[in-house]
């Protein structure tokens, strides 16, 4: 079920009413309702893959129970590896099998050895990378004795399948989310209103910004040979807004929906395009994934301690694995490696934690130097997104080669190849400008319009909400699936 669908608009109020008015007195029943609603939400897309979520839940629950009873180190380790192998095994088969087979065949053919291997016709289950990482974090934390293993199977099932964040995150840690299922939730008016506001802003980001940018970015990327260098740059910038609007929009809707049910999820995006360097960008972009890799991969590898070669190795490992997490394609690996290259100088010169605070705190505008730094970081990010968006390495390389041509400094030629029609109405540019402005003004909050709560007049507040609703109705783009569903 998509957040931006009529189905969800019907589903959400029904679950909300059942949750607060029918099942509120019994925690177990309320948690069962969450499990049922989550399975329905997921099964709406393809019920067959519910078995995978259920298997993952059962295995990690029993691994947790086993770890609770076990003190012998070797046996504890064996239990942890059971969880890791099963979870990553499922992920590997569904997501990476074909990639590895094809890559091996390609590699052997380089040495003149022709191999025949058949790819499997596999459908990638939506959100598999998200819930796999979430359940893995539970097993690892229990193994490290950072978390008490749960005895409550229903609460654990609800934690694994919690529908707001099931298919595209934020990837929650068991230590944050699981305990919230043990306690009776009390309805909180301000929190619920805040949730509604965040959902509205998320819908705006997705439906107005991401879906509109997607239409034009797709045309430019899919016909990149027909466009001038300047138009290709423009296409990459549009993709940057598309992916941000799409993914952070999803996170906002997920976090907002959770608030309606009395849950607190962690912030997943913190205005990343206002970052002054790449290290800051990675502290602000997909925070739940970055911190997952930091805690379960980077730090166990030694982190930023040790020799320079260790630092370089660890940085490349974490960024490349992070790229590979996004998809089984070399383009994602290169995207990760490129970000590692951006990050390394900051790490080696110990400048990776210079920009921690809110940008231009207590000021309306950034300073000139800050502005240039923001632009430069944005430029680096946009360049890396080309690899992320391209269908293949050949596509990415030809896209970049075409950018660096004499037409780079021409006025962007942005007409649809077959029809000659202009592809970008001015209105979209105005909406992007408005979006950037609102995000800038709201950058010290959790999301773009969180500060609206400070406006005293209800009429004024409601006018803002209605204006956003009408912008969604009047300027919605063609409905596109959330990009991160494929990861």
């Amino acid at each position: 079920m998509l957040f931006n669908s009529i189905d969800f608009a019907v589903f959400l109020p029904i679950v909300f009413i059942l949750y607060w008015f029918v099942t509120q007195k019994h925690l177990l029943v309320q948690n069962l309702l969450i499990v049922f609603a989550s399975y329905l939400f997921y099964g709406w897309w393809d019920w067959r893959f519910l078995l995978l979520i259920f298997s993952s839940t059962v295995i990690d629950y029993f691994v947790g129970r086993g770890l609770a009873k076990q003190d012998i180190k070797a046996r504890r380790k064996a239990l942890l590896w059971t969880s890791i192998v099963v979870n990553l095994g499922i992920l590997g088969v569904f997501k990476y099998y074909n990639f590895f087979v094809d890559s091996f065949v390609d590699m052997f053919s380089l040495f003149g050895m022709q191999m025949k291997a058949s790819s499997l016709d596999i459908i990638l289950p939506v959100g598999i990378s998200f819930y796999t990482f979430q359940t893995l974090s539970y097993s690892i934390d229990v193994y490290k004795r950072k978390l008490e293993p749960t005895k409550d199977f229903i609460a654990f099932s609800a934690f694994v399948s919690f529908f707001p964040q099931l298919v595209a995150g934020p990837i929650e840690r068991a230590s944050n989310l699981l305990p919230q299922f043990y306690k009776k939730r009390e309805f909180n008016y301000s929190k619920a209103i805040d949730g509604m506001r965040q959902i509205l802003w998320g819908l705006f980001k997705k439906i107005v910004i991401a879906d509109n940018c997607a239409e034009y970015a797709n045309i430019i990327f899919n016909n990149s040979a027909d466009y001038s260098g300047s138009a290709l740059v423009f296409g990459a910038v549009l993709f940057a807004f598309q992916i941000y609007g799409d993914f952070s929009g999803y996170s906002d809707i997920a976090i907002g929906t959770s608030k309606l049910f009395g849950f607190n999820l962690k912030q997943n995006f913190n205005f990343p395009y206002f970052s002054r360097d790449i290290a800051e960008f990675w502290r602000r972009w997909h925070i739940s994934l970055s911190s997952w890799f930091r805690d379960y991969l980077y730090i166990p590898l030694g982190g930023s301690r040790g020799s320079i070669s260790m630092k370089v190795r660890n940085t490349f490992i974490i960024f490349i694995v992070s790229g590979f997490w996004h998809g089984a394609n070399w383009t994602f690996v290169v995207w990760g490696a490129l970000n590692a290259l951006y990050f390394l100088p900051l790490l080696l010169f110990n400048k990776n934690r210079v920009n921690i605070d809110t940008i231009a705190k207590n000021r309306l505008l950034p300073g000139f130097k800050e502005f240039i730094m923001i632009l430069f970081t944005f430029g680096l990010t946009v360049f890396a997104w080309i690899f992320f968006r391209a269908d293949s390495m050949e596509h990415a390389i030809s896209y970049i080669t075409n950018i660096f041509s004499s037409s780079l400094f021409s006025i962007p030629y942005i007409f649809e190849p077959d029809t000659g029609l202009p592809i970008l109405p001015k209105m979209i540019l105005l909406l992007i400008a408005l979006f950037v402005l609102v995000e800038w003004l709201g950058r010290d909050g959790q999301y773009g319009i969180s500060n609206v709560v400070k406006i005293r007049s209800r009429v004024f507040r409601w006018s803002i909400y209605l204006a956003i609703c009408f912008m969604i109705i009047l300027f919605h783009g063609k409905q596109q699936e959330f990009i991160y569903f494929q990861f």
């Binding site: 009529i6 309805f187 409601w462 209605l466 109705i473 009047l474 919605h476």
Partner: protein, 312 residues
Amino acid sequence: MRQFVKLSLVFSLLLLVLTVLLIEVPESYLENRASFKLPQDSKFIVIGHSHSECSFNDTLIDDLRNLSGSGESYFYTYLKTKQVLEQNPLIETVFIEFTNNQVSPIMDDWTWDDEHMNHRYPKYSPFMNRKEKITLASNNFTGFIASNFKTAKEGVGRILSKDYQYIRETPLSKPASNEHILDSLILDAKKKGPLKKDSKLSEVNVDYLRKIVKLCKENDKNIVLVRSPLHSSYRGYSNESLYHKIRKKYFSDINYLDFSSVSLDDSNFYDLEHLNEKGAKAFSLWFDAFLKKNPDLDSVNEVYLDLNLETN
């Protein structure tokens, strides 16, 4: 909680009222300004879907306007024809594409599935009555709601850009055949073997064809049902007996021209059911001559099985 529910309901109600206004106001504004005007010399019009859209090149046929729309079911064709006949009283004859797939249940999808409704509804909703809207909503409620949002968007866009023209200027013409595509389509059709008899019917589409015929009769127009040229490997013939049964049952008094079996070689087809530019040119030149020979269309109730077109 009570306060939250109360305020949510008030806000939702306010949003609903304003949204309905946002849809309804442009609709009624456009209803009065929409232009379906054709050039004064338009004596003949062709309506239907992509088959006729690709067959009749109206730049080659005197006094004829091809108003067919790709992927259009009779539900929307009826709404368009109503406006066209109202605003163009000089039209004498209406050629209505009537081919195999127009009696098949696929036309139900063309009427109310998400993709087709989202495309057609915003354009024609100003001219729909309540019953027609209920027909769409009852068959695909979520698609209907989504289409209404698009209606608001397109309606406001039309008003702001003062675009009240509802008739497309240039007809669709498919490019020259890609032989590989056509060959693989023919091969694919052969692989599937003999046609299996199909007798499923789209009642809604046939009902709306009857409405179109009735509308034309009320406006004293000549009506001719036309089946455009089709490739001999076309799989849509599977409902041929149902097709003729419907024609005899409801339209036996209507003139009928069947070009489905005209002799045209493969180089005239874009695929198995559409002529390409070359085929459309040959067919349209012949049709132009035919209209000149039969200005009153008094003896056109013929089936053109052996017609051989010059396609040089």
